[in-house]
Every structure is written in structure tokens, then in C-alpha cells.
């Protein structure tokens, strides 16, 4: 596939340097890291090096705090289930309304089938967490708080450090789904109150199916996978050695490119956003424009539907994503758009562009050039557009 790939929050391209690090582990260094021979030792050494690479990206105090998993979903599930098992008397969970399904669906299950009380903290129109509601929900009955670092749809950042300190004061463990944040913003977990953190390889130019859970030293932990003694018995099963080595290399590269992400990529994103807002009437940025990931831009277009936008973008070789009902197979727009109260005239037309270090100036130019035509074409088909009040610039949506 060639084209303009602006769907990096869904997944990223494996960096060729990452792939090169991985390849020998399939056919040459294929030993089992636990084995007592040279084949095993060679691989074991690489796995430990990868652990240190991930440790460096997270700014963690110890490499033993990194547990390799199969990805974000497993890390999220492990963090929550482990904590509940470790603190059986505490029967409450705090999370937010805008989490990824990897957290939300698990919490719903725990609520319905296991009798836990789940507090889902709401957000305001810009996707900011209602910290008063958070303070009220915290108590000694709460086993775990699971609140994401960055939202996958809007890129909006939550003040996880402050939330984690409050959780600690209340005697709860704090987990953050940092799948979208890791590699895009600097972190120093050594100086943080965050106890558990999830990350996923395929969001940072490593392959799919590899991830990690950070477990701060001293945190009570109960494994979800029981079996062999791999990962210090915290995650049994023969290590996905090629994936782990890939994740390590990707972590190192992410550190290397961090400055680029926060300068060049951010500038590209801002230019894309300004270009679209200036050229297209009746659209607006969702989430908090002043506090979000440098690579993400989510714009809601009034009176048209997201899937139709994506199909037309695809004709130009442009890949983006939408929180519209129709793209997800559900019948409602995304829970994130609904949670923010994005007006229903535009919730179905929310479109996410997520850039990466591979994104170029020329690609952004193309999107700015073709997007107004696509929007105009769909609006011409829409029964609502002709009668709508036109707001060429400074469109102010009315949130419900």
C-alpha cells in the first residue's frame, strides 16, 4: 500500500530499523531464552537489553519493573485484574467515561458479573476530566484507578501525575493506559506516583502483538497468566523474543525522535488543522486543543457522516479514521464524542487525523487541498446543509 497514512493512532508502520533488529531472531537466534545453552543465552541477553531500552523510554527506576505482554489490551486487563486480586476487600474501581474498550469493557464485566462498583468519571465539552467528581469518588474502598494518559480519539491528555498522587493518598493503586502517550511525550516514571502503566508496541513503530506493563517496584501483583517462570513469574509463557527485541528497538528510536515529534510533527499537525479550519465552514476541533498529543487532530464536520468522508478520502489515497457509528459497525457515534456532548449535528462527522514521524509536508499539503472538496461534495448531498447557518470561520459549536 502506498498513500498518505494519517491513521497512526490506529497502528503504525514498523520502522525498518526495528524490523532489521528482529529478523535474526526468527531463523538464527531462535533459542528459548530460558534454555541452558548458547542458543538460549544469545536471545536471553537481547530480551534483557530490550527491557532496558523500554525502561529508558519510560524513565523507570529499574528494568525489572517492565513486564512484556502481548499488547495494550493484555496490559490493561492484567493491571486491573491483578490489583483486584491483590486487594480482595476493596470492591470499587474508578475509571473515566472515555477509556479504550480494553478498560471499559472489562469494568463493565466486573460490575455486572463480579459485583464491583465502578465509578466512571465524566469529561467536559473539551474532554477534560471532571476532577471534582474524581475527588469525590476516591475512598479507601477503591482498589484501583485506571485512567488513560492520552485519549486515542482526540489526543486529549489527562493530568495523570496529579490523579496518581491523590489515588496514593487514598490508598488506591493507580494504573494508566498510556498506549497513545508512550513515545510521543517524555515520561519519568521513577519520580511518579503511577503504579502501573500499559503500552503497546504497534503504536510506536514496533509490531502488533507486543506490549508491556510497567509495575512499580513494591506494587502488589498477581499474575493473570500462570505457568512457567518467565518475566519473574509475572507473565508466564515463552517470551515473544522477536517482538520484545522489536519493542526495545522501537523504544530507543522513540526516544531519539521525541524532539522531532514535539516540534516538526506538532507543527505539521497544527498546519493541517489551521488549513482545514480556514478552508471549511462549520467545523471545529474536538477535545482540548491546548493540551493534547502532538500528533493528533480530530475535527468534527457538521451535517455529514464520517464513513462517507473516509471513503472519499480513500479515493485520494488518504487514510484517516472516524468515530462515526457507521465505521465501527455500531449504530451510535463514538462514546468519546458522546461523552464530550459534541453536538449531534457534528458527532457523526468527527474525523481523526493522526500523524507520525513519517508524515511529510507534501502529504499535509495534499490533505489541505482535497479535503474542502470532499466536504463540499457530501454537504451538497445532505438534506441539512442548504438550510444551515453558515459559519465560515470561528465556528462555535453548542455543546449539550
Amino acid at each position: 500500500m502506498t498513500g498518505i497514512y494519517l491513521d497512526n493512532n490506529a497502528t503504525t508502520r514498523v520502522d525498518p530499523l526495528v524490523l532489521a533488529e528482529m529478523l535474526p531472531l526468527f531463523t538464527e537466534q531462535f533459542g528459548n531464552p530460558s534454555s541452558m545453552h548458547g542458543f538460549g543465552a544469545a536471545v536471553g541477553g537481547k530480551v534483557e537489553w530490550a527491557r532496558q531500552q523500554v525502561q529508558a523510554l519510560l524513565g523507570a527506576a529499574h528494568d525489572s519493573e517492565i513486564v512484556f505482554t502481548s499488547g495494550g489490551t493484555e496490559s490493561d486487563n492484567t493491571a486491573i485484574l491483578s490489583t483486584l486480586e491483590a486487594f480482595p476487600k476493596k470492591r470499587e474501581i474508578i475509571t473515566s467515561v472515555v477509556e479504550h474498550p480494553a478498560v471499559l469493557a472489562l469494568c463493565e464485566y466486573l460490575e455486572k458479573k463480579r459485583g464491583y462498583t465502578v465509578h466512571r468519571i465524566p469529561v467536559d465539552g473539551k474532554g477534560n476530566l471532571d476532577t471534582d467528581a474524581y475527588d469525590r469518588a476516591l475512598s479507601e474502598n477503591v482498589a484501583i484507578v485506571s485512567i488513560m494518559w492520552a485519549n486515542n480519539e482526540t489526543g486529549t491528555l489527562f493530568p495523570v501525575e496529579e490523579l496518581a498522587r491523590k489515588a496514593r493518598a487514598a490508598g488506591a493503586l493507580f494504573h494508566t493506559d498510556a498506549v497513545q502517550a508512550v513515545g510521543k511525550i517524555p515520561m519519568r516514571l521513577a519520580d511518579s506516583a503511577i503504579d502501573l502503566l500499559s503500552l503497546s508496541g504497534h503504536k510506536l513503530h514496533a509490531p502488533k502483538g507486543i506490549g508491556a506493563l510497567y509495575v512499580k517496584r513494591g506494587t502488589r501483583f498477581r499474575p493473570m497468566m500462570r505457568g512457567g517462570h518467565q518475566e519473574r513469574s509475572r507473565r508466564a509463557g515463552t517470551e515473544n523474543a522477536p517482538g520484545i527485541v522489536g519493542l526495545g528497538a522501537a523504544a530507543e528510536l522513540a526516544l531519539h525522535h521525541m524532539a522531532d515529534e514535539n516540534t516538526r510533527v506538532r507543527a505539521l499537525r497544527d498546519r493541517l488543522e489551521r488549513g482545514l479550519l480556514a478552508a471549511i465552514p462549520n467545523c471545529f476541533v474536538t477535545g482540548n486543543p491546548d493540551n493534547r498529543l502532538p500528533n493528533t487532530c480530530n475535527i468534527a464536520f457538521e451535517f455529514i457522516e464520517g464513513e462517507a468522508i473516509l471513503l472519499l478520502l480513500n479515493e485520494h489515497g488518504i487514510a484517516a479514521s472516524s468515530g462515526s457509528a457507521c465505521t465501527s459497525g455500531s449504530l451510535e457515534p463514538s462514546h468519546v464524542m458522546r461523552a464530550m456532548g459534541v453536538p449531534y449535528t457534528a458527532a457523526h462527522g468527527a474525523t481523526r487525523f493522526s500523524l507520525s514521524r513519517d508524515t511529510t509536508d507534501a502529504e499535509i499539503d495534499t490533505v489541505i487541498k482535497v479535503m474542502p472538496g470532499i466536504i463540499a461534495r457530501l454537504r451538497a448531498l445532505s438534506p441539512y446543509w442548504a438550510g444551515a447557518e453558515k459559519a465560515p470561520r470561528e465556528f462555535a459549536p453548542v455543546y449539550s
Binding site: F303, L311, L312, G329, P383, Y384
Partner: protein, 308 residues
């Protein structure tokens, strides 16, 4: 990514009859912007002949909603009102070469708009102009009449199918019980029973539009026609062909038995017991599959069932 047929894509990328019809004398509007799709159908009906001379649409919705609207106008232009009334959502879906099951509601929206427009033309009250309270599904504004039409026309028998076709029940789910009641009543009238949920939506998913995977290499002409003896000879021949290669590595392979799709061989020499023997077996298997044009499994003779 949805698997849309070429016809759906054609009608989405180049919709026919899109826009406003200035001299329309019948308009039907269904859906709403909060529900995620809406269609305004405008007709110009000749009062003398009752022929629909022109039709235009405006649609807010996804690719298949726009394609269904376009298909609808193509289906009705030139027909009389009575003929058009006989069209169902099925006709729209068929015209498009099928729609994914989750998207069938787009074709239903088309049929509903048509009925609404014709009702308006005749000066009748459209059944969808229900009072508050008559709605079965409040989230998507679906009443019993619409569910009944969808069930009858498309032979639906499960709650899940009703959701795919009408959207009813696809949000808060509080209406599921009411939907099942309607479904039961309609089915009972037809002498049928409600099916367990998750039954596949038969026939309408456009599977016919999905081409079977082309085989990588043409199967040998003999495939399927071989007698048992021919097949055995082909297997022996294939093994003879690979032997030299294995012998070069200091091993050997010998055919022991053929049991249907399981072919038992014995590896000897350098191959037996070495870590590569599984790889050798795989190589033999690939060769046999290629020669026979059918799938067989090559297994070590040690795995032969007792008594064979």
C-alpha cells in the same frame, strides 16, 4: 473496512439523481441527523398517468445510505406509483448486489422514504407519523409497522436481524423486549417461530458478490478423477521424486501406508530423530499436495493407528 460491492461504490462515488427537485409534488423524509442517517426523497408524479417522471434525493449518511438512495431513484423513475409501491428494501439491496448485514437498514430507509413520499402524494397519512408512545424503539424512532415491514419482506427471525435492518434496539437496548414481542406476533401470524439470535442473515449479505479466491496454480487435470490405484501410483511417484534430495542429506524416506488423507512415511538415516525431521515431513507433504492437487497430511509411521 466494509466490503462494499462495486455497484455500491459506483452509486456512492457517482450518485444518480442527487439534489433538489424544484417541481416535486411528493416528498418523503425519514431518519434524522441525530440517528446518523436521514433521507429526503422528492418525486415528480404525472397526475394523469401516475408515472414517476423524476426523482431526486438528499441524504445524510454513510456510503451505503447514499448508494441506497441513488439506487432507489434509479429503480422508481419511469414506474407508476402502484408499481413503485411494490418495491421493497430487498429490491434496493439486490439492485446494489447486496449490502453488508449491518448496513441493511440503509435499504430499509430507502423503502421507507418511498412509502412516505407516495403517501404524501396520495394525501394519506404516512404510517410513520406515529404519536409519541407508539414507538417501539425510542432511540432510533422505529415503530411496530416499520419492524413488521422489515420482518415480512426480508424473512427476519431474530432480534439481531431486526437491529441490522431497522436499527431498532441498537443503542440503549431497553426496547429489546418490545421488539421481540412485535417479532413474535408477526412471525406467529405467518406460522413461524422466533429464531435464536445470531442466526446468519441468509442470502442478503451480498456474498454472491464476493468472488471465490482464485487457486494459485491450476489443479492437475486428474484431480478428483483419479482412481485409488492411480492415486497410489501418483503418491509413490512423488515420493520417488523427492528421495534423491533427502538421500543427498544422508537420509531416506519410505512410503509405509496410505490411509485416506493421511500418508504415513518412515524417515531413516540422518533424518530420523534429528531436529529437522519435522521439516523434512513438511517438505514431503508440500510435494504431495502439489502433485495430487488435494490436501493430504504426511505423518511419521510411528503415529499410525494400531491395527492398520
Amino acid at each position: 473496512m466494509w466490503n462494499y460491492t462495486d455497484k455500491v461504490k459506483e452509486h456512492f462515488f457517482n450518485p444518480k439523481n442527487a439534489g433538489v427537485l424544484d417541481d416535486a409534488n411528493a416528498v418523503g423524509e425519514v431518519g434524522s441527523i441525530s440517528c446518523g442517517d436521514a433521507l429526503k426523497l422528492m418525486l415528480k408524479v404525472n397526475p394523469d398517468t401516475e408515472v414517476i417522471e423524476d426523482a431526486r434525493f438528499q441524504t445524510f449518511g454513510c456510503g451505503s445510505a447514499i448508494a441506497s438512495s441513488s439506487a432507489l431513484t434509479e429503480l422508481i423513475i419511469g414506474r407508476t406509483v402502484e408499481e413503485a409501491l411494490r418495491l421493497t428494501n430487498r429490491d434496493i439491496a439486490d439492485y446494489l448486489g447486496g449490502l453488508p448485514p449491518e448496513k441493511m437498514h440503509c435499504s430499509v430507509m430507502g423503502a421507507e422514504a418511498l412509502h412516505a413520499a407516495i403517501a404524501a402524494y396520495k394525501g394519506e397519512e404516512w404510517a410513520d407519523d406515529h404519536e409519541e408512545g407508539e414507538l417501539v424503539c425510542k432511540c432510533f424512532g422505529v415503530d411496530a409497522a416499520m419492524i413488521e415491514r422489515a420482518v415480512t419482506v426480508n424473512n427476519l427471525s431474530t432480534l439481531e436481524e431486526v437491529t441490522h435492518y431497522t436499527k431498532a434496539g441498537g443503542s440503549c437496548q431497553t426496547c429489546h423486549e418490545k421488539i421481540e414481542e412485535v417479532l413474535e406476533t408477526v412471525l406467529a401470524r405467518a406460522g413461524k417461530e422466533m429464531g435464536a439470535s445470531r442466526a446468519p442473515a441468509a442470502g442478503l449479505v451480498g456474498l454472491d458478490a464476493i468472488k471465490p479466491l482464485a487457486p494459485k496454480a491450476p489443479a492437475p487435470a486428474t484431480a478428483g478423477k483419479m482412481t485409488n490405484v492411480q492415486r497410489m501410483q501418483a503418491i509413490m511417484l512423488a515420493i520417488e521424486e523427492i528421495r534423491p534430495q533427502i538421500q543427498r542429506d544422508g537420509g531416506d524416506v519410505e512410503l509405509v501406508d496410505i490411509d485416506g488423507k493421511d500418508i504415513y512415511v518412515r524417515l531413516s538415516g540422518a533424518c530420523s530423530g534429528c531436529s529437522q525431521s519435522a521439516g523434512t515431513m513438511m517438505g514431503v507433504q508440500m510435494k504431495l499436495v502439489e502433485k495430487l492437487g488435494e490436501f493430504v497430511r504426511v505423518k511419521p509411521a510411528s503415529l499410525m493407528p494400531a491395527g492398520v
